[in-house]
Symmetry: D2
Subunit: 356 residues, 4 copies
């Protein structure tokens, strides 16, 4: 009998339906199918590996995931240290704050009459609504909080830690900001000026010319220092955007000062954008290798799917499959409470990249 | 206190992660999130309703789902009568036959060296491989079978029933064609000429000028007659393509002869195409209403997702949540074995739309 | 000075705006930009090369291009032999016939009230409307024509030639079907059963059980024979679908009988689908190489764009840049008028692949 | 004769091919076709109207347009005041600076061997390459420039004006930054921290703890003040991202302080993202109405296309069709040279939204 081609080694195993399968069983049965289903199963496997390895895991979050019902999934990832550092758009943190303050987003329709919504001051995010009035109250709440701070620049990391603390003390409710505060997980928000948190800060400035100073360049230094301190990292990206690039930039910037860095050891991204229009959100993890954002031998996978489908399934599966690994995991201990962050008790040098 | 806007009725309920959730529990928790996650949960609910209602359910199937590891999901849907009639591309039936004949598709890479693959005669479907040699043996097998048939035109429905029967008798293995044969579920393949089954038939013709006559126009008549016989229908579409339109066409054509028809009562589609380029695959179910393909009050949902993610989760959930409904369901009894199909014991008029 | 990397050879040349640029000047200035702009400029260059080379050029056409205002672009391509053989969906030919018969499609809105449209029997294709009543009159017109044919199976190629002839004689108007009739350019429609032309044929069958017999398997044989007769081909694909695969299938099927074939020498596709969901419409031209659909050294390009933007620009440019080439071109002379097509005066063997 | 439906008013006019058509003639012939082709023609018409009306036109720019060969198109738009204010990602400004400094991006391949590229320190952006070494020299150049500034926070608007001036004085070359400097067109870069310009600034900080202070919250105040000063605006968005939202935020924030604002009067966006995943980049202009980002009666259009195809055609057309309008246009005169920007000679209040 003729020898099989070297290309024909592992047969596709068709997915076998069964009543009562759990999320992790569903993903396990998807490991040998094709296309994005296989990729999602691979993401499950790679995330498990990350958690077993000695790496600092960055989570990037773009798209309206908080408004869209995934904020407690992200809070769960933070609280149980599936991830060690969050990079987010401002909107996701703002919508999280909105709900943690006891307000809601609402089921809506993508074919709504937007003139009627505008009339009633309802803001629409595809199939989801929110009250503009409540949004304005958030802005004022943020502005008021910002005017209580010292008159010096704050990195977004420090500001968001303090904001999370204030939110936790006022509400005692779970959410992304409060979970990060309680778990000492740093949050960076590089595009904070492009969000309603930024609008709140600008209203603080309006009231007090010395308020609302945010040091986004300090964030660059500090995010790179996290990588330099422990030059083994992994990247989990939901939806592209500024978080995706900022996480990669931290790695590239760190390598500039420390040649042990060498890019992320693992990378997974769940995106709906495609590579062929050249934008960063859709850029492939292969391309990331050319930049040194990713180690040449890194395990990586891109899942082309809406996070509102992929993430609930993936994290429900991990909650079961990674339970023991999470219990045994010893991630870096961050102290994000002051002007200079500390890692495992040792603070970063202020305003400098940490020399090796 | 001010009254809430009429638009702000049902709050988003953030997905709550928990270890050990089953597929249907995951989908239930996705009902009040947003975007495609909510849509997939809605698809679950609509399919349950279809099964409880007295409707004939068409399943359309395009995209490389059989090669991609979903053929046993579709076979399960047929065997347990989650659906009553399949409309498929030729490729999906061919790749099903390929595996039912004991051969495999294989895990591959989307960044493979295609010249090297061509050298070894490996055919690639994105991240999945198959042996061209084995494909040629299928073609010959189909050609040989076709030459055993009578020298008259066969609708694809009749031909595929006979092919499924031959396959079942030769292999005794599960698959789409064999499940449909055993469950008397008719299969239509309107674009059979654009597939390797068509190539097999053309090779039969090459051997015998009287062989390989397929009557695709007869399929139009018969598919409409299924609707006329019981003018309450539903449509489940995976991936658009010719199956999507053929199912709608059956309804539109039926209405031309019987004004009780009025379009599908339920419709769900899992597609990756978008409406704004004007193609039928991505066309919205709203648009379908203008054509009368869909009843004006039909419950419908479009899920923008790769079926290799959405379908395993959705059908795993249904296998649990619809178990009792399926047991109690009394669908039409088809006899697809002869030149004219019979429904509940009464054959269709040959070569005619059934007058009311 | 350090030597430049071998990867850094040809600089991007930013597009320079100027008033009065013609279409071909615009495309020429896009040759050294990036992403899909560069790809469209490459498509322009590759199509010019095809026309200079001794190849038979297949054009595949899917998506609602005729309803969407591109039917006279396609008619122009046929009349002036930018292409030699058309493979189309049924809808594109039907919508062409609709306008050639003196009726119109209309500007509409993608956010229309579809219930109101249904009420007035207006069919919507995204942002374009048509009258259902006029569509029904087309169906009847086709049915009536079909009942005038002999009671034998017709390939779609023969049927569409006769339909185009009848249309030309009745209307004297330009369009795809009439241009193809007049230029003796064969048209194949592998999924004719999935279209309103198919519906018209099924109504002919309803009136007369012996009418409306279409031999789609004969089309497979004949399309492969076109390749065998002159085994140097090129493929231009608009929008994927059945035409894309049917053109490739002709090449693959031909190679089975004649090893000179070796796949298309040139290929260009303008598609909006993506490869990573595994469907044929979005499949890459790299992947096509593994199947032998494309010669290993073929020049090829995929343009990810809506054809309603790309095609008017591309063909307007070619109309200027390829004028002399078109005048000098000596394509195969087809006679598509009879049961067996003839090429350069020599008919194909009936019901057989042409042996070498 | 029966009356036509009110829905069937304006027939589709098929595009008529002709040799020698200019860009604006091509777009004019696309006005009555369908889908994205029609939308691009509508964008042409809407931009012409904007230029004739008394509105301040914001241009948003995301995606790798500068690296991809469109920087001189954008520079042209700025120099000739097709637009009045630019909001950009950092990368687009950085890649512009890269070329203005006399360096290049290069034609590359999307299927390159990224390990080999990494080896030679070539960075890939889909099908385009750049030298990492040259990038590092830019970073150092920016860092050095930043250390020459006063030790106070700079808005991105002020910083980028000074950077453009320095670039113009050093190179005398055309580009986005230099054109904006010369035309006194303000540039905002809300996510500057997520870019190589930010990396350059962080290296300035590393050298000098008092350097590299950017006041992104000041940008929010100032961008809103531009709207308040002249509350009639228009928005042209390329590719979504932070620029899209920042432009809308300026309008929303301005309205909070001045009820004359009422959203943009005109809006056009060229995007490849879709609305149904809920992200801001793909969000529809209909949805923008619910937020008051867009006036309820605004003329608006979304073109779903890669900007590398759509923009060269669109701006080439405008260069001819809008020539007279541009000559007659009297836009606001900005002075972006100091800590507080001035409009028509009158400076904004420092650190405050301008009260009505």
């Amino acid at each position: 009998m003729k020898k099989k081609s070297r290309f024909l080694q592992t047969p596709i195993e068709p997915f076998a339906v069964e009543a009562g399968l759990t999320a992790d069983q569903v993903l396990t049965r998807m490991e040998r199918i094709s296309f994005q289903g296989r990729n999602l199963a691979t993401a499950h496997r790679i995330w498990q590996k990350m958690l077993q390895d000695d790496v600092t895991i960055f989570l990037g979050m773009a798209g309206a995931l908080s408004a869209g019902g995934l904020r407690l999934v992200v809070a769960h990832l933070i609280a149980h240290r599936y991830v060690d550092c969050l990079v987010s758009t401002g909107a996701n943190l703002y919508h999280d704050l909105h709900e943690t303050r006891g307000q809601s987003h609402y089921l809506g329709s993508p074919t709504a009459d937007d003139a009627a919504l505008a009339e009633e001051r309802i803001d629409r995010v595809y199939d989801t609504y929110a009250s503009e009035e409540e949004f304005c109250s958030n802005d004022a709440w943020i502005a008021k909080f910002a005017t209580t701070l010292e008159t010096r620049p704050y990195t977004t990391r420090e500001f968001l830690y303090l904001l999370g603390g204030h939110l936790w003390k006022t509400t005692g409710r779970d959410g992304i900001l409060t979970a990060a505060y309680r778990a000492n997980v740093p949050i960076f928000c590089p595009a904070i000026a492009d969000s309603s948190i930024g609008m709140g800060l600008s209203q603080a400035r309006h009231r007090d010319a010395t308020a609302g100073h945010i040091d986004v360049i300090g964030d660059i230094v500090e995010s790179a220092n996290i990588v330099i301190r422990h030059p083994r990292t992994a990247s989990v990206v939901l939806g592209g955007g500024t978080p995706k690039n900022f996480i990669n930039q931290a790695s590239v910037q760190a390598e500039f000062f420390d040649d042990r860095v060498g890019g992320h050891r693992y990378a997974l991204q769940i995106v709906t954008d495609v590579p062929h229009f050249g934008g960063a959100s859709g850029s492939s993890l292969e391309e990331a290798r050319s930049w040194g954002k990713l180690a040449t031998d890194a395990e990586q996978v891109t899942v082309h799917a809406d996070a509102t489908i992929a993430l609930p399934l993936l994290v429900s599966a991990l909650a079961a499959s990674a339970q023991d690994t999470l219990a045994a995991r010893k991630p870096l201990a961050f102290d994000p409470s002051g002007p200079a962050m500390a890692v495992n008790g040792r603070p970063f040098p202020p305003a400098r990249f940490e020399a090796r």
